[in-house]
Amino acid sequence: MEDLGLKIFGAILTTILGFTVGMTYGGIVRKLTARVQNRYGPPFYQNFLDLLKLQVKKTNIAHGFMGHMAPVWIIIAAVTVLLFIPILNGNLWFPNMSFHGDLIFLLYMMVFGSLGMALGAGQSGNPNSAIGVSRGLSQMVGFEIPFVLSLVALMIQYETTSVQELTQIQHETGVWNAISNPFAFLAALFASLGMFRYSPFDIVGAPAELASGPVSEFGGKYLGTMMSGGAIFAFIKLTLYVHLFLGGAGNPDNTGIIATLLGLGVLLIKTFTLYMVPVFYGWINPRYRTEQAIQYFWRWPTALGIIGVIWAVYS
């Protein structure tokens, strides 16, 4: 029973961590973007205020059952994926279920939320939402190809499909997968540009032309809940990348408080550095059209991914 209690505590802790880190990162990016544009910018905790404000809106509107459920799908996907990836390698404080689900499961679970939200957006009946969904799904087919190629490369290189195992291997050998298979890493990095939907891949929710696309009919608590889900997802993607390619974080041999905090620090540094890649790329790029975005992913990133797979087979 103690075990179960610890697990529940760990799950809640993980969720809070993912949520907080994701929201803060979003806020920092807003601040940094402002600085780059020579503005003062909002405070880094602005996203929390936005969220709180949305949650305390006095009236809310839903367009029916699927519209009501849309944020639910996102949160389900976000929290489930969060609990099935390792936060710190072998740490007792985050005793989640990373052994019980592997990369294929994570891949499919990660689209669960977007599809559910797309259904909710569809029920609102706003044509902008449907157009946004069409673009989003098309773009997803684009960036999933290099992403899966890089994952396949990793899986066959180390003969494991578990994120936990991959982290452990990197911990034991001391060589990051980003170095042992650089092509796969690059392919995944390119794919992450599309995943985070910063420019130039932000046509899905283009505010000026699509009225923010799929979320155009959501406000109040629905938009707020979606925002939290999105924040958790940002943290998930970053953590997943760190554990897959950048050596992970945490020391399985030492799970004391100080070591845990140290591990968290390492995780935060790595994730933040990684997060800067799509953000930097976004600052200097205008927007792609959907087909341009898809073709972008199907050219160099896919080629890099294929090289990565070949590299993995012959290394």
């Binding site: 809310n60 367009h63 489930t80 279920m97 499919y108 797309a118 608590k221």
Partner: protein, 619 residues
């Protein structure tokens, strides 16, 4: 009387009975069908013993009837789906005429499938195969002139398959001296060793039914043109007969082949696997440009069969298990989806997605079925579709070294999200238009089978072990020993697992928490509005204004993937057909009707004979 004969007899008498009853009281024709199938199902699951064999001889040929663990999987699938489809059919077909024709063929095709399952020798196998083919052909052309072209296509390809199969069967008799399937397998008839064309011919025969590229072109039209209550079986169960045969052939190749890297095994794995993969991709990208929901589902069926064939082609334990699991799950969700399309067609009058939208409030149960089935189709956790997809990927990555096939399959299954969404959005979501205001939920007898199928999908997602047990036993028959299965844990050969229990628990808990939070939070301040109350820059949409975005839904994707759309198998076959026609036309010109020309031909023939006399008649 022997139980097998009894079942076949009940089927045939049921077919005749429903034909006769239609003359007297057309209403009861459907009910007769349902009762017939129900009686057979009851008899089958209570009386038939697995691995019991009945021998008899017909015209001097030894024949065997029986059910083994492998065919038992398909028996569950066929009988279960047919039972629900016939129940669905009663109301769905109510207002049509020529019901006797439809129902007797309906029963006959099921009789054909059950017969195939019973057959343990090639002769009866072939006979029942033809019964199935012919009766399904007759149903495809049920609609008359509108569907005669698709019926013709179906018939031509079926004929190709049938001749290929017949050639193989005769060759087996000639080379190995037996018609009994198990004996042929033991003699190594399918092993690509001495008579390499035998398994190839058989595979061609089965591939036609399983809609494998390049023999799939009949499928989209035939699936979408026949009545939906039959298509549920046509796509759900009948295509699985092809899978049944392919499984037999491939399993005997892989499990009897001592060398894992033998040349023939690798060749087979590559060719069949890639054919399956390409089928999946091409069918998927064609599915997502369809505007007719039935056509979309038909293409999607072809794509899903592609996955199953890929799974079979790996020949590994996990791969075959994935294929069989996917076969059952596909039957369930595609049966459900075609029923959904049928229900929409009956209630609205069309399945054109550009004309329908916003049925969710009108047909909530149908929507529930569609949602669950689509989640299973897309392979999203936690439903059964995910379990099958998971095993398929793990098999390809861990066991078959066919890494790029993984990408092809993954591309196809990601693109499948697009048409999945399209289907749900096109029919059920979007603006509630005025034209469909009168639409009501389908009658209860149509709802029940759909909802049952949806519930099966949910249960198999949570406890995939329910299906693993018969599959594991069936695979032992195919020669795979020690098939491990657990109620809810999926394991690959590297030891990694996906634990459906944990996954479902997490999803369930989070769902409940968030759902309660979101619903109760500010309950008073939350109100539901219609789909006309949307932010349209302040403009008020009029009642007849259609705001739903339906036409060219995936135009950006089409532009991006334009090279893939350039080549269509249909076109290649048409070109081939035209070329053949030209050749035949030329051949026909030999017969001019002029006696002197014929005389000239005879003289030319004699001259040729004389010239080549020495080479032709050496001894």
């Amino acid at each position: 009387m022997n139980i097998f004969f009894l079942i076949i007899l009940i089927f045939f008498s049921g077919a005749i009975l429903s034909f006769i009853i239609n003359r007297i009281a057309p209403k009861f024709s459907g009910i007769t069908t349902f009762v017939t199938i129900a009686v057979v199902s009851f008899l089958f699951f209570t009386q038939v013993e697995i691995n019991s064999i009945t021998q008899f001889s017909l015209g001097g040929i030894q024949m065997q009837f029986g059910v083994n663990n492998y065919t038992y999987i398909f028996a569950i699938l066929v009988l279960g789906l047919s039972l629900l489809a016939s129940l669905f059919s009663i109301k769905y077909m109510q207002d049509n005429d020529r019901l006797g024709y439809f129902y007797s063929n309906f029963i006959l095709s099921i009789a054909g499938m059950v017969g195939i399952i019973f057959s343990r020798d090639f002769i009866s196998f072939f006979i029942f195969w033809e019964i199935m083919t012919w009766s399904s052909y007759l149903i495809v052309i049920y609609d008359g002139a509108r569907s005669s072209r698709s019926g013709l296509k179906y018939m031509i390809f079926s004929a190709i398959g049938a001749y290929a199969m017949l050639t193989a069967i005769v060759s087996i008799k000639g080379s190995y001296g037996t018609f009994i399937i198990s004996e042929a397998i033991e003699n190594g008839a399918f092993n690509f060793t001495d008579h390499i064309y035998i398994p190839i011919m058989l595979l061609v025969g089965f591939a036609v039914k399983a809609a494998l590229m390049p023999l799939h072109v009949w499928a989209p039209n035939a699936y979408s043109k026949s009545p939906m209550s039959f298509t549920a079986i046509f796509s759900g169960a009948m295509s699985k007969m092809g899978i049944l045969g392919m499984g037999l052939v491939l399993a005997s190749v892989y499990s009897h082949s001592t060398d894992e890297n033998a040349f023939n095994v690798l060749i087979l794995r590559q060719i069949l696997g890639w054919l399956g993969g390409i089928t999946a991709v091409m069918a998927t990208i064609y599915a997502l440009i369809q505007t007719d929901a039935k056509k979309l589902l038909a293409y999607s069926s072809v794509a899903q069969l592609g996955y199953i064939i890929v799974g079979l082609s790996t020949g590994t334990k996990l791969g075959v298990m994935a294929a069989l699991f996917l076969a059952i799950i596909h039957a369930v969700f595609k049966g459900a989806l075609f029923m959904v399309a049928g229900a929409v067609e009956r209630q609205v009058g069309t399945t054109d997605m550009t004309k329908i939208s916003g049925l969710i409030r009108k047909m909530p149960f149908t929507f529930f079925t569609a949602l669950v089935s689509i989640i299973a189709l897309a392979g999203i956790p936690p439903l059964g579709g995910f379990v099958g997809k998971w095993m398929l990927y793990e098999a390809l990555i861990t066991e078959s070294n066919n890494y790029f096939l993984v990408i092809v399959i993954f591309f196809s299954s990601t693109a499948a999200f697009m048409y999945s969404y399209r289907f749900l959005f096109g029919l059920f979501l979007g603006q509630e238009e005025k034209e469909i205001e009168h639409v009501k939920e389908a009658p209860v007898t149509m709802i029940i089978p759909m909802v049952i199928l949806a519930l099966i999908l949910i249960v198999t997602g949570v406890y995939p072990g329910i299906l693993f047990e018969p599959i594991a036993q069936g695979m032992q028959y195919l020669g795979y020993s020690d098939v491990n299965w657990d109620m809810s844990v999926l394991v690959n050969v590297w030891g990694e697992e996906s634990n459906m229990a944990y996954i479902n628990l997490t999803i369930g808990v989070v769902f409940v928490v968030i759902f309660i939070f979101l619903t109760l939070k500010n309950l008073k301040g939350t109100r539901y509005v219609g789909t006309k109350d949307i932010s349209t820059s302040g403009e008020i949409p009029t009642e007849n204004e259609n705001l739903t975005f339906q036409l060219d839904f995936f135009k950006p994707f089409q532009r991006a993937a334009a090279p893939l759309y350039k080549r269509s198998m249909d076109k290649i076959w048409n070109d081939l057909g035209n070329a053949l026609e030209a050749i035949f036309d030329f051949t026909r010109r030999i017969y001019t009707g002029n006696g002197q020309t014929y005389a000239l031909f005879v003289i030319i023939f004699l001259v040729i004979l004389l010239i080549f006399k020495n080479t032709l008649f050496t001894n």
